[in-house]
């Protein structure tokens, strides 16, 4: 049975038939709200995520400013700090990193594999609305003193319902994405021949499929317990103990996993040749996803190291390396493979490569930080060092997302982003990410506690670190807003993009820009991992 939706022509006729501007707007909004076109659904996810990213960075800056000087409550009060800290983590995890990567994959993957549509298009759209409704429930409940540790019981209940709905919505969209990769590939496109982004979407999607249901199950337990007696899970204080793992490392690696495919794809295009280490890149992306899933399922993989004998040290070391070290290895393999691929050819500097590679570097810095933090004698547990890891991974993912939108935007909107803007904003975003994270690493070594703004000597050098972190978050907020504005303007009135503006190798560049509603007039045949290179003149492609 095939559950494709073929798309009727866009209902633009309404405006030309004299229905008026309001009517055209209603029709336009309606067509987006009810679309089963994967390119629109993906853009809905990604654009909403970018808005969430800007709002989160503002919250990060506010929290950072509270730690400057003597610490304490200069702008906010105690309740606001608790709520904003929760909001920051929830929105950045479930409202930014996860939907940004998922949206990009939903928009691009069916085009890459030669499919006319996404499998279960209505399910993907339902997933978007469910995810958005759940996220809004989470945000509104936290704003009304709910959320982890919140004091308003009904709002804590609402928060738990929101988390379950958000995760279930993302799960529905992931089911659609994974099924598409498994069943809708063009003739000749075996799994070994799929593009890098598609591979990362498959492996990252499977990891999401295996972790998000556990979030839903835990939220069900917590809701029933919290609503009916608070006897088992510690009431409102227990929410973070039981659900906190889904908003921290290594679960955040699962959200970032699709991003390594973005980097590998853009780097291959920049190298202008068939990637000599393609298999290694596939392995790297797979290792990252599988190891991140493994790490997320394990609770005790920290290295205590002291007070243990030699054999106990070895027993501790192995799971520590597997669950904390393997994701780093996977990301390093992809980054190293990309650099080697570029070094062996005559690389072109294409603008989206800058934010994408810098973003992967940031994710790696977060992973390396997590590895260090899990080493018990370092004494970093419960300090702002963990906030630094989180910022590195999530904002690195946002940078990879900016790279992806700059790269595939021409295919989705038909117009290109200005090269200088992508360069500039990519670099600014990199600066913001480093500033929002690295000073927290330093402050973590000085034992500054996480999640609070008082009860610690915030003067002296700490003032500098917290000030820099706050400035970094502010820079990130500005970067994301500027990128959104630049993209909105360029994709509306910018320079028209050609069908293959990057001289690329994968199937999406064989259709017109913007891609038509049903993607391909006829299903293309594929005989190599770089089908477009097969068509280009001999000598132009190695």
């Amino acid at each position: 049975m095939t559950t494709f939706d073929t798309h009727a022509a866009a209902p633009a006729a309404a405006s030309s038939s004299g229905a008026g501007a309001l009517g055209a707007l209603v029709v336009g909004v309606g067509s987006w709200a009810t679309t089963t076109d994967h390119k629109k659904i993906g853009r809905l996810f990604a654009v909403t995520a970018l808005l969430g990213g800007a709002a989160s960075a503002v919250i990060g800056a506010l929290l950072g400013f509270e730690r400057i000087g003597a610490g304490g409550y200069l702008i906010l009060d105690l309740d606001s700090v608790v709520q904003l800290s929760s909001l920051y983590r929830v929105v950045l995890s479930f409202g930014v990193a996860l939907p940004l990567m998922l949206g990009i994959a939903i928009a691009i993957v069916p085009l890459q594999i030669g499919s006319k549509a996404i499998a279960f298009g209505r399910l993907a759209l339902f997933g978007f609305w469910m995810w958005l409704a759940g996220l809004l429930l989470c945000i509104s409940s936290i704003a009304a003193n709910g959320g982890p540790g919140g004091g308003e019981a009904k709002m804590v209940d609402l928060f738990l319902v929101g988390v379950a709905i958000t995760a279930a919505g993302a799960l529905a969209a992931t089911v659609s994405l994974v099924t598409t990769v498994l069943t809708n590939r063009a003739p000749g496109m075996s799994l070994a021949r799929v593009p890098m982004l598609t591979w990362a979407a498959l492996t990252g999607g499977v990891s999401l499929l295996l972790t998000l249901p556990v979030v839903v199950g835990t939220a069900i337990y917590l809701y029933v317990d919290h609503h009916y007696g608070r006897l088992a899970f510690g009431g409102n204080k227990g929410v973070n103990d039981w659900l906190g793992w889904s908003m921290t490392q290594p679960q955040t690696y699962v959200f970032a996993a699709i991003g390594v495919g973005v980097v590998a794809e853009i780097a291959t295009v920049a190298s202008g040749r068939r990637h000599p280490l393609r298999a290694i890149l596939l392995v790297g992306a797979g290792v990252l996803s599988v190891a991140a899933f493994g790490g997320a399922t394990q609770v005790q993989h920290a290295l205590t190291w002291t007070d243990t004998s030699g054999s106990d040290k070895v027993k501790e070391l192995l799971p520590f390396l597997i669950f904390n070290g393997l994701p780093v290895l996977g990301a390093l393999v992809v980054l190293g493979g990309c650099v080697l691929g570029l070094a062996q050819g005559k690389p072109r500097v294409i603008a989206p490569l800058v934010p994408a590679v810098l973003g992967l570097g940031m994710v790696l810095a977060g992973m390396a930080g997590h590895l260090v933090a899990q080493f018990g004698p370092a004494g970093l547990a419960g300090t702002v060092f963990e906030e630094g890891e989180f910022n590195y991974v999530i904002y690195g993912t946002v940078l990879m997302g900016i790279g992806a939108i700059s790269f595939w935007g021409p295919k989705l909107w038909g117009r290109s982003l200005p090269r200088s803007a992508v360069f500039g904003l990519g670099t600014l975003g990199f600066l913001g990410t480093v500033l929002s994270s690295l000073p927290l690493y330093v402050a973590g070594f000085a034992d500054q506690p996480a999640g609070v703004v008082d009860g610690f000597a915030y003067g002296g050098p700490q003032e500098l670190w917290n000030g820099l972190a706050a400035a970094g978050s502010a820079i990130l907020a500005v970067t994301i807003v500027l990128f959104a504005l630049t993209a909105a303007r360029a994709f509306r009135n910018g320079e028209p993009a050609g069908d293959d503006p990057w001289d690329a190798q994968t199937l999406e560049w064989s259709v017109s820009s913007p891609a038509p509603a049903d993607n391909f007039a006829s299903v293309p045949a594929v005989s190599s991992p770089e089908p477009l290179f097969d068509l280009k003149p001999t000598g132009s492609v190695k």
Partner: protein, 201 residues
């Protein structure tokens, strides 16, 4: 410049519904598996107390006057097994384009699924436990409630397959395979809950 790739041969049947159901079943298995592992963790961490005969120390996990509806849950295990056989019969008939037997098999699956649902719901009044009385009670309601939701989804899936079958699409083997796969998943989920929650408690 647009690069036009040659059109490929007609793709093989995609079996989208079957694969999609497999993916959903894997996610469902993780949901139930995650909830069971939290259940086991709580049971393992329960403090010890003296048994009612005063002879041994037992885990202070179950309510002292717990009446487990074992007959109902054991019959449920048989019922879900029969439902799987009926669903597989629908696949067998569908491959032979035998609409009468396909519909009959789906009707039997529907009957079994309703019986299973009835049995699961009847567990609550039989056990006479109050939701807010303790950790065991809240967790029991949460996990069995989730299982009931999965069974309800199975009832809806069977109804949809039955409508399609009686509407002249009995030869849709992808639908029947996916339907049978969901019931296999459901039987695995029920068996796991039956063993951990109803038998081992």
């Amino acid at each position: 410049m647009t690069h036009v790739l040659p059109a490929g041969p007609q793709p093989a049947p995609r079996r989208q519904l079957l694969v999609g159901t497999g993916v959903v079943s894997a996610a469902g298995a993780l949901l139930i598996g995650g909830m069971l592992s939290i259940w086991l963790r709580f049971r393992d961490a329960a403090p010890l107390r003296e048994s009612s005969d005063g002879l041994k120390q037992i885990k202070d996990w179950l309510p002292e006057d717990l009446k487990m509806a074992e007959v109902l849950t054991n019959v449920g295990l048989v019922t879900v097994g029969v439902a799987c056989i009926m669903a597989q019969w629908a696949v067998y008939s569908s491959r032979r384009k035998d609409s009468r037997h396909t519909s009959m098999a789906l009707g039997m699956t529907l009957l079994m699924s309703l019986a299973l649902l009835n049995g699961l719901v009847a567990v609550y009044p039989n056990m006479e436990i109050v939701l807010a009385d303790g950790p065991y009670q809240t967790m029991f309601y949460a996990i069995t409630g989730t299982l009931i939701t999965f069974v309800l989804a199975g009832v809806a899936f069977t109804l949809a397959a039955l409508f399609k079958s009686t509407g002249g699409r009995a030869g849709n083997t992808d639908l029947m395979n996916a339907h049978a796969l969901y019931w296999y998943f459901l039987s695995a989920a029920y068996t796991a809950v039956w063993f951990v929650v109803f038998v081992q408690k």
